[in-house]
Amino acid sequence: MFKKILIANRGEIAVRVMRACREMGIASVAVYADVDRAAMHVRKADEAYAIGPAAATESYLNIAKILDVAKRSGADAIHPGYGFLSENSKFAQACADAGVKFIGPTAVSMELMGSKTRARQHMETAGVPFVPGTSRGLDSAEQARQVAEKIGYPVMLKAAAGGGGKGMRLVRKPEDLEPALESAKSEAQRAFGDGEVYIEKAIMNPRHIEMQILADEHGNTVYLGERECSIQRRHQKVMEESPSPIVDADMRRRMGGVAVRVAEAAGYTNAGTVEFLVDQKKNFYFLEMNTRLQVEHPVTELITGLDLVHLQIRIAAGESLPFRQEDISVRGHAIECRIYAEDPDNNYFPSPGKITLLLTPSGPGIREDSGVYEGWTVPIDYDPLLAKLIGYGTDRAQTIARLVRAMNEYFVGGIKTNISLFQRILRDPEFVAGEIDTGYLDRLIKRSVPAAKRDDAGIAAIAAGVFEMLESASGAASPGIPTGNCNGSSRQGVSGWKQAARAEGLRNT
């Protein structure tokens, strides 16, 4: 087993991996950009090293600097988290060349899955179902027109190197095809430095359902159930759950079988995710494979009882999977909410800044994976994910009820978050009925926000005055007034004394 792991990431996922290291008796090494000196992941690590300025290209994406820290600190493995270098085959190869184990697949299988067209060509031979279309980049508008006629409109143009909705165009009519192809190509060229664009039949209002797989380095591959990820905004997932409201045991077995076939065809090792589009008749089509640990892995952990990061580390250390497919069962229901620093009342603008107050939920069925703390200033340089709140319950209804309750306990002051959006979704009849697809969230957001009852304005007025008086009485805010005097600190104000005396009296009874 490894003695020391370097975590080439930041935020909640770096903290998540460090926790696994601590649990397994492995030392953890953090790397950080200057603006992250006070970040949670630096506080939680056993060792931490600065790797440069805020710009990711000069810090969290800088392969040479990260490998240099690995060498200096004596780390024998690197966990890449998600994002940053996690799906960079050059980094995986550079780790191998430097004699440091990369906790993930090999550079070769990562490379294969990195291009959507190459993955399609490869999966064709493995008999994997995917959306009808081309498996190679389009040479001309004429070729695009021919394929579109054959598969039928509407069609979708997609960048081979794509992700995050860039270089993607929905085309409904033949006359829109040529201009759409041109703009998709130039957008792909700008975003990925690769203008290759292919075409497939557009699936309207699909669900996005993915299958978690695990493969060891001895030829064993299993699937750990699906995750429904249809709730998205700007092609970014916002909420994920497992099981999916529409997947039954038979469909899970069939999708799981395909996912295992995809992984085996790619010679895949470690944790990975096979993404599918599912149409309204529950036909599923291979979309792509994510060659890393996903943001939403906790929902799978809760319903399978497995720790995916522990297993990733064990697999990378050369151990065999400690179970077979038939040992895995799915129990209960889990839903993850991604808490983003963004303002739902102002177009979801990012809202970095100082967290002045942080009250986090707990209690039955609630897990919070966070990378922030009260008093920390969320920097503007990275993505706005602050934390993930994951609910778990016997069934979907109980999980939703627990999350509604937890969102009421959750408070982030000083910056804006999307907590109020989750309060809306979790109470929305369509969501509660499980009727969701990838267009669901845009439709919900377009509807006007139901006005909250504002009948506590008088209470707010009283509270404003009380806050002010408690502060002016004690010179500054004095939390915990009833017990304040016990520690000998000086508190002023009649009531403070009285309350302290009363608290003292209670303690003596």
Partner: protein, 165 residues
């Protein structure tokens, strides 16, 4: 103490005194039995006629907000005897309007220049923060009096980017 409190634009007259047994509170002339404990900074536990409230406070240099039961109230607090005030209501919308940065970030593109006519909702410039690009739009119809932002500049939340009149 006497306070004039404005919540969501509505005025309340509040009288608060700390008495031996707790608090004496009159809101708009009506006695309200109040029990209050500051649980921690910015978190108040209020008991009012048997009902329990956990109230959170958010303050910036210019704004005061109180959260009661998941609802956010804009508050302004004035002590009539002093000129001190804590405010939280938006200014009026006549005269030149300042377009301020809604978040800290970087100005990546200025789309319009001074003297340009703008429609409400028309984009004036583009800011980037947290890997996302966002268009900053005109709040009203009018003419751009001045553009204060420059492309490539880092700005803080509240910085004036442009003035529309």
């Amino acid at each position: 103490m006497l306070f004039d409190v404005t919540i969501d634009g509505k005025n309340y007259h509040l009288e608060l005194h700390r008495a031996d047994a707790g608090w004496q509170c009159r809101l708009d002339g009506r006695d309200v039995p109040v029990d209050a404990v500051l649980a921690r900074r910015d978190v108040l536990s209020l008991l009012i006629e048997g009902k329990a409230y956990e109230i959170k406070r958010e303050r910036t240099a210019t704004d005061l907000h109180l959260w009661v039961g998941g609802v956010r109230y804009a508050a302004e607090l004035r002590d009539p005897r002093s000129l001190r005030s804590r405010k939280g209501v938006a200014g009026d919308d006549t005269g030149p309007m300042k377009l301020v940065a809604p978040m800290p970030g970087k100005v990546i593109r200025v789309l319009l220049q001074a003297k340009a006519q703008v429609e409400p909702g028309q984009s004036i410039l583009v800011m980037e923060a947290m890997k996302m690009q966002n268009e900053i739009k005109s709040p009203r119809k009018g003419t751009i009096q001045k553009i204060l932002a420059t492309e490539g500049a880092n700005v803080n939340a509240g910085d004036v980017l442009a003035i529309v009149e």
